[in-house]
């Protein structure tokens, strides 16, 4: 009889433990569950711990209580100015009403698909009714930033005064003021979508724009604009350099001419003065006896020039006075 008792005992133990195990379930932190009995929602558990249910009859459907993320595909949307941009948004949401969630979408996949529709259309309406600057910028800080060292010039910055720099480099442009800005736009998108999501037991926490890009053709033209802007600035710098160099060279030439002509003038003055004084010396001396000067000068001159001539004398010269007559002619 002992054997049979053992067998019955084991079977009872096994059955009890089996039933026991099936009547317990654990909800971990970060989870919530609903208990469905025969197609009807019987219980909702939103806190963690060991829970009891009717074995086999009750079905436990678990959902996360964590913040979940929604990630849609980037959409190509027109702004109010009809410029096409790619808007990539993400959202965070939670299942706050598991009962409604189960009744409406039941699975995360279905919920994501529902959110796709809701959020995409909300993004589309808001973006297309606003100018692009409201979606890109968040504040008017762009007009308040002081631009001082935008262009790092060389060491002698005294050449690059801020006024001429701002003219060259267009550093003083001001931008249209925005009214809403990106955060407010995101809030608008959120508010629109939030109206619908409670139907699914979902609370949308936020919708943020992760990235905005131009559509491809627009990107090309923006690139071209950027390149053109830069070349204009580069050109302005180079022209300014050419101009300043020309100024220096002009100044240099002017001064060179001034220096040289001044030197010439003074040298001539000095020479002229010297010539005059020399002439005075000569005339002063020679005028003491002009006749004797004429005689003496001629003598000196003959001594200079005549040796070079082939000479043929006539006896008519004064030199021969005593030649034919010892008392002179």
């Amino acid at each position: 009889m002992k054997g049979k008792f053992l067998v019955i005992f084991s079977v009872v133990v096994l059955t009890v433990s089996f039933l026991g195990f099936n009547s317990l379930f654990i909800i971990t932190e970060g989870e919530q569950a609903i208990v469905v009995r025969l197609g009807r929602i019987e219980n909702v558990h939103t806190d963690a711990g060991l829970k009891v249910k009717v074995p086999f009859i009750d079905n436990v459907v678990k959902y996360s209580t964590k913040i979940l993320s929604w990630d849609g595909e980037a959409q190509r949307l027109p702004t109010v100015e009809n410029q096409f941009i790619w808007v990539d948004a993400t959202a965070r949401w939670r299942i706050t009403d598991p009962r409604k969630f189960y009744e409406s979408v039941a699975t995360i996949t279905m919920a994501q698909s529902r959110l796709d529709d809701v959020i995409d259309s909300s993004v589309r309406s808001v973006i297309s009714s606003n100018p692009i600057r409201e979606a890109v910028r968040n504040s008017n800080i762009i007009n308040e930033i002081e631009r001082k060292d935008v262009y790092r010039a060389s060491d002698d910055d005294d050449e690059l005064d801020p006024e001429s720099l701002s003219v060259i480099a267009m550093t003083e442009t001001s931008y249209t003021r925005i009214i809403k800005g990106r955060n407010e736009i995101s809030n608008e998108i959120l508010e629109r979508a939030k109206r619908i999501t409670p139907d699914y037991g979902i609370t949308l926490i936020d919708i943020v724009i992760r990235q905005i890009k131009y559509s491809d053709d627009l990107t090309e033209s923006v690139y071209n604009r950027m390149i053109k802007e830069r070349s204009q600035i580069a050109q302005a710098f180079r022209s300014d350099g050419e101009g300043k160099k020309a100024k220096w060279l002009g100044e240099m030439n002017r001064e060179l001419r001034s220096i040289r002509s001044e030197a010439y003038r003074r040298a001539e003055e000095i020479r002229g003065l010297a010539d005059a004084r020399a002439a005075a010396v000569y005339s002063d001396a020679y005028n003491r006896d002009p006749e004797f000067y004429a005689f003496w000068k001629s003598i000196e001159s003959y001594k200079e020039t005549l040796p070079k001539f082939n000479k043929t004398l006539t006896t008519d010269s004064e030199y021969f006075k005593y030649l034919h007559d010892k008392r002179g002619r």
Partner: protein, 320 residues
């Protein structure tokens, strides 16, 4: 340890099996209840799924067989996320980066509607392991999404040159604050310790070249101005020197001229004094001295008598 030898005639009784199973279960239980928490980590213990306690580094125990579960969280590590680029191999001085572009993350619009490529990293630490584990699903994705959207917003609020230049620090500070605010709101249980912008450049290709050309143009401008200055500084002093020399030369001429004049005149004046003393004698002497000087060297010469038509050979008086 010696081999377990079955003694002869040993039969396995049912209750021995039960004892063996019980011992096995006990051993398994002991093994399953021990776990180690590494330094710089913390462990979160759930009992029946509900939070029970946090355990520190070292040897720890939990109730086995799934009653208590342990979840390890690296709380003292500084964790990093990269955006716009990826480090392939971190090195001591030089890290190797992936050559691919990550323009989905890096390409952004600026406030003046230009396009710029931004690379950045964030560093964060898990400050509350319980929150980290159980409040947010796919924590890394949430961190990355938020970080991207915040940097996108901050860059979009500023002009391209400010983003590249003077506003970097402002963006880093504002970004870090905004991220921490949002993550606190989500109860993510982390703290962002750094937002660091890395390379910020205009889009590669002709746009970047155009930006670089502006820098070149600035240098060109400096170079041109220096050329002008240099030419000036070279030529002007030199010309001044030359001018000085020119004037000195004239002065030299002046002195020379005057000296010559006075020299010439001196000679004349001394002869004049002599002439005044004895005019006829001086005159005659000078005249005949001239003739001697001019004709003294003459080897042959012709003398023509004024009354004759023929040449008369010049002979010294007394000769034939």
């Amino acid at each position: 340890m010696s081999d377990f030898k079955m003694p002869k005639g040993f039969t396995v009784k049912p209750f021995m099996l039960v004892i063996a199973v019980v011992i096995l279960l006990l051993l398994t239980g002991v093994f399953m209840s021990i776990f180690i928490v590494e330094p710089r980590e913390q462990g979160v213990i759930l009992r029946f799924g509900k939070f029970d306690r946090i355990v520190e580094p070292g040897l720890n125990f939990k109730i086995p067989f799934g009653i208590e579960t342990s979840h390890i969280v690296p709380t003292q590590f500084v964790l990093k996320e990269e955006f716009g680029f990826r480090t392939v191999r971190a090195g001591n001085g030089r890290s190797v980066y992936s050559p691919s572009q990550f323009t989905d993350e890096s390409s952004m619009l600026t406030g003046d509607l230009n396009i710029v490529d931004v690379e950045w990293i964030i560093q964060y630490r898990i400050t509350d392991p319980l929150l980290w584990l159980f409040r947010v699903d796919n924590q890394t994705k949430a961190i990355r999404d938020i970080s991207q959207s915040i940097v996108n917003l901050l860059v979009g609020d500023r002009a391209i040159l400010d983003v590249i230049g003077s506003e970097r620090t402002a963006i880093e500070i504002a970004g870090q604050d905004m991220m921490n605010e949002l993550f606190d709101r989500y109860n993510l249980g982390i703290r962002v310790t750094t937002l660091q912008l890395q390379n910020i450049v205009p889009p590669k290709g002709s746009v970047q070249n155009a930006f670089e050309d502006v820098n070149k143009a600035i240098q060109d401008r400096s170079r041109l101005i220096n050329e002008g200055k240099q030419a000036y500084n070279e030529q002007i002093p030199r010309a001044k020197g030359e001018a000085e020399a020119f004037i000195r030369e004239a002065e030299g001429y002046a002195v020379e001229r005057l000296n010559k004049a006075e020299g010439d005149v001196a000679r004349f004046l001394s002869v004049l004094t002599e002439y005044r003393r004895s005019p006829d004698v001086t005159r005659t002497r000078l005249y005949y001295e001239m003739f001697e000087e001019i004709f003294g060297d003459e080897k042959s010469g012709d003398l023509i008598d004024k009354n004759l038509k023929n040449f008369v050979p010049f002979k010294t008086v007394g000769g034939n």
